[in-house]
Subunit: 301 residues, 2 copies
């Protein structure tokens, strides 16, 4: 690799000592000269389509390095033969942190307690807690593994579910049998045809009364109307960092449903992520300079 | 042991199959007959003084089994020779859970995000996160150990501080040297003469700008006025489940200080705690019936 294109000056600065030409382009400004030489491109984080037009400006492209864990919108626009690498590891800790924080907020009723603070009222009602709870974690990547370790430290037991069964991991097609024995379900799966609306009315009906759903993956893994019905009847509760549709329109009934906490897709968006992003891009460029293949390839190129 | 006194029927029921007489007394109702035979007493959880008067009704007392981790009000009223056992393990998971949930709420600014939910507004501002943060944990008991494991799973590094130095644990008298290199301080120490107002103006001044304090131990370990000054200047932020005074009066300025989240001493108060409490009391009675010493003795009787 001789020329790469990155979306920010901070990433460029992390590559300054490497033997490679670095262009900076955020995909919004006018394309800079030299894009025809680019072999590795890092698109801006959480950019919206059209990516195809930007990719068309990169005739020598070999590798697309995303800064997100999710990559579902890329394969359809990717030129043939180009490797797609996701940002596994960049956002895992902060997304797991939000999943755990949201789950604790829901379980310990922190919003009500913080309302009491605003009213200067000291009312120590007992709440539920994670201690002794059975947590089913869908997804065994960086996020799922971190959530499992954290809730285990807090007295819960974690059951892991991956795409295929292996030691200590159940297969996704067994999930219906597992649901009745779990108090919490955490969704940390990649979005795909197979996970689209996986959490539908039947899935939710399998969760026991009072169970809690956490989604920090993609909104469309959950069927919103089915979840809304379970929230409205107050049978289930949920913490959602992602929704379908997204952004959630101001008049959507999910905003004010009972027993739901919603954050605006900020799982990966902490101030510390740039450091991890820069580390990953640097590692990938070093590997390509050394003639090695990149890490985190998610397509079969 | 032939007779024990417990504060609830649920604990009595857990002892039903053991060869021991069980009296139920919540220390508020009239004392039941037979207290003169009681050798082990379990006072009600979070009861207020006077305990001395109740203890005077128990002339054959050998063991006091508390249901709380903290025990600082008991040694002054305990008759000579009576063993005092705390509730180590009953509340550790739920208190650690609240410490972690409060820290994440503070770090990720969850209260502001939940206000946006009430306003049906989707605004994905970037927030800080625990990933890469250095967390100093004062206290290496059940609570401190669980907090350390959880924050480590979420990408932070944990430094442990106990009363004395040992492998992997710094001594409390080294804490001033450690403060400048940590972004978060979690207080999970027992309250004692040595920890009374440990977190004073000088301690707080040693914490770097923007650092966060979490107190889930006892309010009087922190000097409230000194903390209030650091919060008001917006140099530090805090999550407090315990305060001094407690309950916090409605007109106390801490309620509305900037950058503070306050919950009303609910660390140990989750619905699951009774099960653990019953388990511990049962274990202790079994040990005494077998002629063994009780667990969790906290005084040198």
């Amino acid at each position: 690799v001789s020329t790469v294109c990155v979306p920010s000056e901070s990433i460029r600065d992390r590559l300054a000592d490497l033997d490679v030409e670095v262009l900076v382009w955020d995909w919004r400004a006018e394309p800079p000269p030299g894009l025809d030489r680019v072999e590795l491109v890092v698109p801006p984080y959480m950019d919206r389509p059209p990516q195809a037009r930007a990719l068309a400006a990169l005739p020598n492209l070999r590798v697309v390095q995303l800064l997100s864990a999710g990559y579902e919108s890329w394969p359809p626009v990717l030129p043939p033969g180009v490797l797609l690498c996701n940002g596994r590891g960049i956002h895992g800790a902060s997304t797991a942190e939000l999943a755990v924080g949201g789950l604790i907020s829901l379980t310990r009723n922190l919003p009500r307690l913080l309302d009491q603070q605003r009213q200067a009222r000291w009312v120590a009602d007992r709440t539920d807690g994670l201690d002794g709870k059975r947590v089913l974690i869908l997804g065994v990547g960086d996020i799922g593994g971190r959530v499992a370790a954290a809730v285990t430290a807090l007295g819960a037991t974690a059951t892991l579910v991956g795409r295929t069964a292996r030691d200590g991991v159940h297969a996704l097609d067994q999930v219906a049998d597992l649901l009745p024995d779990h108090d919490v379900v955490v969704v940390a799966l990649p979005y795909s045809d197979r996970t689209h609306r996986l959490v539908d009315a039947k899935f939710l009906a399998g969760m026991p009364d009072g169970a809690r759903l956490v989604n920090v993956a993609r909104g469309a893994i959950v069927e919103t109307d089915a979840l809304l019905a379970e929230l409205t009847s107050e049978r289930l509760s949920a913490f959602l960092d992602v929704t379908d549709p997204e952004p959630l329109p101001a008049d959507h009934p999910l905003w004010s449903a009972p027993n739901v906490l919603i954050t605006p897709h900020i799982g990966g968006g902490t101030t510390g992520w740039q450091r991890r992003a820069e580390d990953l891009v640097r590692t990938q460029v070093q590997r390509l300079l050394a003639g090695e293949g990149p890490l985190n390839v998610v397509n079969a190129a």
